[in-house]
Symmetry: C2
DNA sequence: CTGAAAGCGCTAACAA
DNA sequence: TTGTTAGCGCTTTCAG
């Protein structure tokens, strides 16, 4: 593998000049620049970012921590982040951390601590005070997606408001017998997403004067999770609701599959609304609140790289939540209220 | 950020000794080792892998190229690769390359060319001769998943055999009117997966003496893709098959959703078999050939790291295909032949 | 077993 | 505009 010394020799200049010519920093005459570039091409020279970062302190590498890869929302965020970073010439190093674990400690204390990254994006991970300190201690920008992180910018939707909006949509259609199927209140996701969505649902129901008793069912936030819950809760025609607000599209899809198996027509006999904007929504006649994960990903990258350019004094105490766009997408055949 | 010099000073040893003590390479008395380690702990020292790799040539970082993140199979591979690498103390840098594009060229000529990686794992990407040369030129191990790569080890299933096996399963149940829904023959995926699976299907059908005309339909390899195809091909009762072999579980799921919407009972009126081992298989009464993506991922990592330890002389001309386990998983209610 | 010194590949001062 | 020099943080000879 050739070094910049080889390039310099071939172009008959000093290493420093070759460096300036190739990196674009500092003055080089147009003529020598072309000579250096030509030399680099002929021997197939590519800078060693390791060596460069040793002296510049910049690695052109961003660390990303994320709890799931195969859930739709997270996969979309990841794709958009990777794409945005690549466009800007950055590498993305990925850490997949499903739950608090020994591995997680190791990632924070070892992997993230080695000045290998110019910055870190934390996707859907609620960091402990200690972890935030660890990260801040490195004096590198940090951006969050999915909820606030002390002292840094983050991108998130307002979960309470989203849940409330979704529920109000069902209420406005005339539904009164509405269920919420969401994540377990005992096993919270990070940022208490489960309880926030439940809170939004409850608020809307109470405001409309409906009782809350027996309106909430907890399941895993996956399609099979929603399916199982659907089988058990929709089986009994007497206690069957006319509408369900699901905490995620994946749950909603599972519910719809179960409903159809039980001979319940969706949406005419059962309206289902979810959150995310999942690409399967249309084929399942699902109404959903789009969460625009790709936008969130790009926004995070933009914000992080901006911080890198001009080290903004980190927002002191509270984090900045940039609310994302929330668009209600009604599917081809809109949910209908129960026939009188 | 503290350096090894700080540690050395605090422990009253030379930098070299501190280095030996912390890395475990070279002789250090048990007593000084503990002193050095203690010193490192107190000031929170973590090695800079960049600086270390500059002298050792090892980066403890593996590059991964993958065409999709949100498709189930790829997400699973990614998760398992990341996990296996982390266990071994390696970072994973991810490049998401959906299609041949200018971006792709840049990744190979720039990002992968900068000796930032100890090795590369290529998941489901068929590399051009030029790209393989690029990679080999770096004299770093390379492992493939999904199909052969010239001169290196790779992990893959036998697509022709898998398709044939799936089709034979349907034939053995007594089906004669079988369709294959798979990827377009014009827009091949890498490694010609589409045509291989079609070939396997055709072989089984011919062997059983069935005509091929009108048995193949092409769609996108996604759930909505399968759904659309299902709507159009299952709509007409006269030309409806009794069984379908889908090239992927995602297609199969889409087909089943469409079938159910059209009032076709699955599996009693329509048997569907797919490939992958998707977690939704059971709830959709789908029979599937498991492809064990997580095993493939771990196998790739093991193979790569082994190559790293003892630089095996690359398998000269042809690549080694380690066939993966192929298990047929029958769902709760098995596909049945058409009633006579 | 430990220390001193050299140097990995590169860029940033500073001179020229 | 270019060259010289120093040094980023670490590991590795090579002496001791």
């Amino acid at each position: 593998m050739s070094t910049i010394a080889d390039v310099a020799r071939l172009a008959s200049v000093a290493k420093a000049t070759a460096s300036r010519a190739l990196s674009g920093r500092g003055y080089v005459s147009e003529e020598t620049r072309t000579r250096v570039v030509a030399a680099a091409r002929t021997i197939g020279y590519v800078v060693s970012p390791n060596a460069a970062s040793l002296v510049t302190g910049r690695t052109k590498n961003i660390g990303v921590i994320i709890p799931y890869i195969s859930r739709w929302f997270f996969a979309e965020v990841l794709e958009s982040v990777e794409q945005a970073l690549l466009e800007q010439g950055y590498d993305m190093t990925l850490y997949n951390l499903p739950a608090p674990s020994p591995e997680r400690v190791r990632v924070f204390e070892y992997f993230l601590a080695r000045k290998r990254f110019d910055g870190v994006i934390s996707v859907g991970v609620e960091l402990s005070d200690e972890e935030v300190d660890h990260l801040h201690h490195m004096r590198r920008p940090l951006v969050g997606i999915g909820g606030p992180i002390r002292g840094v910018h983050s991108i998130a939707i307002n979960d309470v408001a989203a849940a409330r909006l979704a529920t109000e949509h069902l209420l406005s259609l005339g539904h009164t017998d509405i269920l919420h199927v969401g994540g377990s209140q005992e096993e919270q996701m990070d940022f208490d997403v489960h309880s926030k969505r439940l809170a939004g649902f409850n608020a809307a129901m109470l405001a409309a004067g409906h009782p809350l008793a027996g309106t909430f069912y907890a399941c895993e936030l996956t399609v099979p999770g929603g399916y199982e819950m659907g089988r058990s809760v929709l089986g009994d025609p007497r206690r069957r609701p006319t509408a369900i607000f699901a905490a995620s599209d994946e749950i909603a899809i599972g519910l719809i599959v179960a409903a159809r198996e039980l001979g319940i027509l969706v949406p005419s006999e059962l309206s289902v609304i979810g959150i995310d904007g999942h690409p399967y929504a249309e084929m399942f006649r699902l109404t959903t609140l789009e969460q625009h994960p790709r936008n969130q990903g790009r926004l995070a990258v933009t914000s992080l790289l901006a911080d890198l350019e001009s080290p903004t004094p980190a927002p002191s105490a509270e984090s900045t939540v940039l609310p994302t766009n929330l668009v209600m997408r009604s599917s081809t055949s809109a949910p209908r209220p129960p026939l009188p």
